[in-house]
Amino acid sequence: MKKEVEIKHLPMEEKKRLVAEGKMHWFFPGHVVEQTIICIVVFLILITLATVFPPALDEMADPFTTPEHIKPEWYFLAAYQELKIAEKLMFIGAWAPKIIGIGMQGVAVGFLFAIPFLDPNPARQYAKRKIALALGVMAVLGFIGLTVWGHLS
């Protein structure tokens, strides 16, 4: 696979040959038309959702009345459930639930940032990166599991 800058400076004849052989296509119009179609489909999905499932509007906030059940939106449920699990660590000390609960989320974000530097394996084929794939599947299942748990509890 050639580098992008090398592809950029290929002679025109070579580029035309690559397109004719179907190995690449022109950014314009090929790629641009493709992307435009995808954008239109996404817009149609959004406008359908907005029409068929309009967002609910709860009553106005009242700082003096705490509602019975409050749960965060689905994308914060996993973090919320993790904090609730950390409350079980009370036996270590009163400090433990919050510090470990929030600390773990900080560590998770730190790990997320550091992934390219923690993974020394240059290979991209699935067969050659079993550990990375296993960790990734565990992370995804963990996130989905915590989300569902948070939703049900």
Partner: protein, 231 residues
């Protein structure tokens, strides 16, 4: 000028040629169009999962547009915020549609960011030389979550108010930095008008500016390094 050759394309439409001449005389656009658009090649091996970064960007642009329209009628004041959202939903022409698009765009954007990250992770695309693009990507993911968190409070409903109360209690319980973090977020001991103003400012000014900056870095890297090849 009778015809214009741009990469493999030849243009003969006189109106297009005239417009091109007007711009080219001032900005020398032929070179830019030739190099960056018309002789640029794109890969053909891409599947649907490779599109989620672009889809996320499209939804982000939609959020900017619908957000601007909502901002015209929304009032960031604890006494009026809820009323203004009710008015947007019930009285303003197509307000329900704009709010619906913004709501679903927000939810879908979180989902498409996650799918995009999954594709990059499981495809091993974060590896050298693209390490820094993973880092800017994770920062953009956190900004997306920041948009969701701050935007959720703005309608000033029971749910959004109390969700914010609970969500800001957790960092407030941290040792040493906790109380400071909490009072920075809330602007006082409780969720109040100050909090609403802060979240509004973050949501419509600070986060969009940071997102645009990081997106430029994110896209320039892709432009320079190209889309990663097949495995």
């Amino acid at each position: 000028m009778d015809e214009l050759k741009l990469g493999p394309i030849t243009l003969r439409n006189r109106l297009v040629l005239k417009g091109f001449e007007i711009l080219d005389r001032r900005f020398e656009i032929k070179e830019i169009l030739d190099e960056e658009v018309f002789t640029k090649l794109a890969p053909t091996h891409l599947g649907i999962f490779s599109c989620f970064g672009g889809i996320t960007f499209f939804i982000f642009l939609m959020q900017i547009m619908t957000g601007l329209l909502l901002m015209i009628y929304y009032v960031p004041d604890t006494q009026s915020a809820h009323k203004s959202v009710v008015a947007i939903t019930n009285d303003i022409p197509f307000g329900w549609a704009v709010r619906g698009l913004h709501f679903w765009g927000a939810n879908l954007m979180v989902l498409t960011v996650m799918i995009h990250m999954g594709k990059i992770y499981f495809g091993g695309i974060y590896k050298a030389p693209r390490e820094m693009n993973w880092v800017t990507g994770v920062a953009l993911f956190l900004l997306t979550m920041g948009f969701s968190f701050t935007g959720y409070l703005l309608p000033w409903t029971q749910l959004s108010y109390w969700a914010t109360v609970i969500a800001t209690e957790a960092p407030g319980a941290m040792p040493v930095v906790g109380p400071l973090t909490k009072s920075l977020m809330l602007g006082g001991p409780d969720v109040s008008q100050v909090t609403l103003s802060r979240f509004f400012t973050l949501h419509v000014m600070v986060l969009p500016a940071a997102t645009f900056g990081l997106l430029i870095a994110h896209f320039l890297q892709i432009r320079r390094q190209g889309i990663s090849g097949p495995m």
